[in-house]
C-alpha cells in the first residue's frame, strides 16, 4: 500500500466534475485505480501504419507540380506517338 499526496487537481470537464462531486472518496479511488490499471493508457496514441501506408509516406513529396505536368506531357507523347516500325519496302 502506497499513500500519495495528490495536491489539487484542476478538472476542466463538466462531466468529470459531476462524477467527482456525486461520488464518495472510495468510489473516486476505485475509478482512479481502474483507470490506471486499464490498457487505455498503455495503448499508443497513434495507429501503427500499414505496409502500404508507410510506402505512401516514403513516396509523398518527392516531386513538384512542375514534374507532375512534365510526366503527363511526356507520357502522352510516348503513348500517343508510339507505333511499331513500318516494314513496307520504300523502293
Amino acid at each position: 500500500m502506497t499513500n500519495f499526496k495528490m495536491g489539487t487537481i484542476h478538472i476542466d470537464s463538466p462531466k468529470a466534475e459531476m462524477i467527482i462531486k456525486t461520488s464518495s472518496i472510495d468510489e473516486i479511488r476505485t475509478m482512479f485505480i481502474t483507470f490506471l490499471e486499464s490498457d487505455f493508457i498503455h495503448k499508443p496514441t497513434k495507429n501503427k501504419k500499414s505496409k502500404w501506408g508507410n510506402f505512401a509516406d516514403r513516396m509523398s513529396g518527392l516531386t513538384t507540380p512542375e514534374i507532375t505536368e512534365h510526366i503527363e506531357n511526356t507520357s502522352k507523347e510516348m503513348r500517343d506517338s508510339f507505333s511499331f516500325r513500318d516494314l513496307t519496302p520504300t523502293n
Binding site: K51, W52, H70, F82
Partner: protein, 151 residues
C-alpha cells in the same frame, strides 16, 4: 490478396503532395492489406525515365531522378515486365478493341503502349490502377481488372 499495378499518372500524383489527387491515392494505399501486392509496369519505368532525362531544368531533373531511384529501389514494390503470357493478352486486347470500336489499324497503333500495360496487368492477374479512361473502356470489353483511385 490483391495485386495492383499503378499506372504512371498514379505514381506522379502520389509523388506530388500538391496534386489534387494526392490524398486520395494515399488514402487508398492506407486501406490496402499488408499482404496485397503493389507494383509498376516496366512501361511506366520507361516513361518516367524518358520524362526525367528530357527535363530541361537541372534542379527539377535531380529531384525527379531521386524520386525515380526511390521507387525503383523500394523493397516493397514489384516491377512487372512483358513476357510470353502478356503477348497473348496484348493480341487479344488489340483485336477486341479494334472490333469493338471500329477503329482502323493506323489509329489503333497509337494505343499499343496502353495495350502493353494492360496485357502486363492481365498476365499478372492484377488490377490496373489508372486515371486513363482508355483502360476503363478496355475493362468493359475484356476481363481486365481496372480501378480509378481518384474517383
Amino acid at each position: 490478396m490483391t495485386t495492383y499495378i499503378l499506372d504512371t499518372d498514379i505514381i506522379s500524383y502520389l509523388w506530388d503532395r500538391k496534386s489534387p489527387y494526392h490524398q486520395k491515392i494515399v488514402n487508398k494505399l492506407n486501406s490496402l492489406n499488408d499482404d496485397d501486392i503493389v507494383g509498376l509496369s516496366i512501361i511506366s519505368i520507361y516513361e518516367l525515365t524518358y520524362g526525367m532525362d528530357s527535363f530541361k531544368d537541372e534542379n527539377l531533373k535531380a529531384t525527379f531522378q531521386n524520386a525515380l531511384t526511390m521507387i525503383k529501389r523500394d523493397d516493397d514494390i514489384f516491377i512487372y515486365s512483358l513476357d510470353v503470357v502478356s503477348a497473348d493478352f496484348f493480341s487479344e486486347l488489340k483485336q477486341l478493341y479494334k472490333s469493338s470500336t471500329g477503329i482502323n489499324s493506323k489509329n489503333a497503333k497509337k494505343n499499343d503502349l496502353d495495350f502493353m500495360i494492360a496485357s502486363i496487368a492481365m498476365s499478372q492477374k492484377a488490377t490496373l490502377v489508372s486515371n486513363d479512361k482508355l483502360f476503363e473502356t478496355l475493362s468493359n470489353y475484356t476481363n481486365m481488372k481496372y480501378e480509378n483511385w481518384i474517383n
